[in-house]
């Protein structure tokens, strides 16, 4: 194999991993909520979408600077999530998980209709001022938005991990995640920690909306990145922050390999001979395929919490 192919492989992998970290950032919002409140939030992708749409629309239509727009989105998302927790989800405590899942699916559909109604459905660019010229390291060309996205994601993971492992509030939040009733009996105001978890998910959604919006443009389809959250969290384990990162990187890399190697290969004559169909698009389903395979061997995901039972 010539050197060019090797460099190209490394480049594909690194870019994939960086995109994966951006997936992981969105997954983090999902994990935070699941960990502490046991709710599976199918609207996380829509949260990302509405924050992106909001910032882009404010910038494009009203000339609001991105920074100000981001702050507005941040405040809005936190308030929105707090209200959501209070109005929709708190009355559902103690109900079957399916009820909560259905509520969040409904919410997702609602948001997907509401926001284009307010801000219009046109695709807008979200310019964070990140240059488009690739960053060149040796033979490797990296996309700047991916590098920034990956770095932001890693910074946040670090901050969240320290918060969870070291601070008193983090300990309390983990206690709440472990057992609601016992936490209450220990003097922890469980509902306040639910609000905290939802607010953090809101912050993460805004970050995701900015980064992904700047990477692929902002319109309704931005919510689709939310779907990638599922292979990410299921690979990594629903409750694990580390799992979200590793799952994100795996999904990103697999996608990159699929798009760069498998899809073009499928159009080659030798492949067509035994697979006489259109081909391509493996990038989109390979993560899900991998998810299924992993579930066979590690039903809790790679880093999910194994339910300890001692009698």
């Amino acid at each position: 194999m010539d050197m060019f192919a090797v460099w190209y492989f490394v480049e594909t992998t690194i870019n994939g991993a960086l995109i994966g970290l951006m997936y992981a950032l969105i997954a983090l919002g999902f994990v935070l909520i699941y960990k502490s409140t046991d709710a599976i939030n199918f609207a996380q992708g829509q949260f990302v979408m509405i924050s992106g749409v909001m910032v882009a629309a404010l910038a494009a239509d009203y000339g609001v600077p991105i920074v100000v727009g981001a702050i507005v989105a941040l405040v809005f998302m936190i308030l929105f999530n707090v209200m959501l927790e209070r109005i929709v989800l708190r009355p559902m405590i103690g109900r079957p998980v399916v009820a909560i899942i259905m509520a969040t699916i409904g919410l997702a559909a609602f948001l997907e209709g509401l926001f284009p109604m307010i801000f219009g459905a046109t695709t807008r660019a979200l310019d964070l001022g990140i240059p488009n010229d690739p960053i060149i390291i040796g033979q490797i060309y990296l996309t700047p938005i991916n590098v920034v996205g990956g770095a932001v994601a890693l910074t946040f993971f670090g901050a969240f991990s320290i918060f969870f492992m070291k601070s008193r509030k983090g300990v309390a939040l983990r206690a709440v995640a472990d057992n609601h009733q016992v936490s209450m009996a220990m003097g922890i105001n469980v509902e306040r920690y639910f609000v905290l978890a939802w607010s953090m998910a809101g912050v993460v959604a805004v970050l995701g909306g900015l980064l992904w919006g700047s990477a692929i443009g902002v319109d309704n389809t931005l919510a689709v990145v939310g779907l990638k959250v599922f292979p990410v969290v299921i690979l990594g384990g629903l409750e694990s922050i580390i799992g979200a990162i590793v799952g994100g990187i795996i999904v990103g890399v697999i996608e990159a390999w699929g798009g760069t190697y498998i899809d073009p290969a499928m159009t080659q004559p030798w492949f067509r001979e035994f697979f006489p169909f259109e081909g391509g698009g493996t990038k989109d389903f390979l993560p899900y395929l991998l998810m299924i395979v992993v579930l066979f061997f590690k039903p809790y995901g790679l880093f999910g919490k194994v339910h300890i039972e001692r009698v």
């Binding site: 300990v171 016992v182 209450m184 009996a185 220990m186 105001n189 300890i308």
Partner: protein, 264 residues
């Protein structure tokens, strides 16, 4: 210190679980509530700690006072701030947290970190075994150690009164003895009042000052622990001792007699 006045508890708006219970707990005493499964002992504790609401239960009549203040309308985390803490039946440690983090979580209402450190040390003097395994995950402790952790965690909120729900459940006799020794030491050294729910009547009465016997949602008997231990009905139904001190066979237990005596 704690005065329960004729409370009635209803679950789901229909099921009457407690039918007028009155219990009085004196400061720094050990008071025990005895009774069979389903008698309403745990419900009594939950109505004190405010944990009925998540289970759709509510106190519909009567009042619960702690040091003269009504606490039956408080949320669980507010009750803990008043100095009342409950240790659940079946231990219920935070399985995925380390032992030290379990204790930290227990001290949630104490904001001063130095006090928290001192209290962790105090818990380790009560339970040296926990100190050896402080960084280990709580879920992998043995049953006895988990019970110790649950009690230690409750001590971390600096309570005036601890309510223990069947601390002997599923533990080896030697461990039970150790835990009951520590319960007595807690009262003596930390000055904590103890409300102990037990099925093991003999053991509970041997360390308690005052005892209550519950059956079917009501209190059927109460008195100083020594008197209860000597009571012939308690001996027959809870300690399995027949008249004249012989072991009694369950075949000879006359069930109608207890109904006549207690509920008639």
């Amino acid at each position: 210190m704690l005065a329960i006045n004729n409370i009635e508890v209803i679950y789901n708006n229909v099921v009457l679980v407690l039918k007028g219970i009155s219990i009085d707990v004196k400061p720094q005493s050990i008071t025990t509530i005895l009774g069979a499964n389903g008698a309403g002992k745990t419900t009594t504790l939950k109505s004190i700690s405010g944990l009925l609401k998540p289970e759709r239960g509510q106190v519909t009549r009567g009042s619960i006072e702690f040091n003269g203040e009504r606490i039956d309308k408080l949320a669980p985390h507010e009750t803990v701030k008043k100095g009342v803490v409950q240790v659940f039946e079946g231990r219920r440690v935070f399985t995925h947290l380390s032992i030290e983090d379990n204790l930290l979580a227990g001290a949630h209402i104490v904001s001063d970190m130095k006090t928290v450190r001192d209290m962790i040390d105090q818990v380790y003097t009560f339970f040296p075994r926990l100190k050896e395994r402080r960084t280990g995950q709580a879920g992998y402790l043995s049953g006895g150690e988990q019970q110790m952790l649950a009690i230690g965690r409750a001590l971390m909120s600096n309570p005036k009164m601890i309510m223990l729900d069947e601390p002997s459940l599923g533990l080896a006799p030697m461990i039970i003895e150790e835990i009951f020794d520590i319960i007595q030491r807690m009262r003596k050294e930390a000055g904590v009042t103890i409300l102990l729910v037990e099925q093991n009547a003999n053991l509970a009465l041997s360390i308690a000052d005052q005892g209550y016997v519950m059956e079917n949602g009501s209190i059927v008997m109460e008195g100083p622990a020594k008197e209860l231990l000597a009571n012939s009905d308690i001996q027959e139904f809870y300690l399995g001792i027949g008249e004249g001190g012989s072991k009694k066979s369950f075949r000879d237990v006359k069930h109608y007699r207890r109904r006549k005596r207690w509920l008639g």
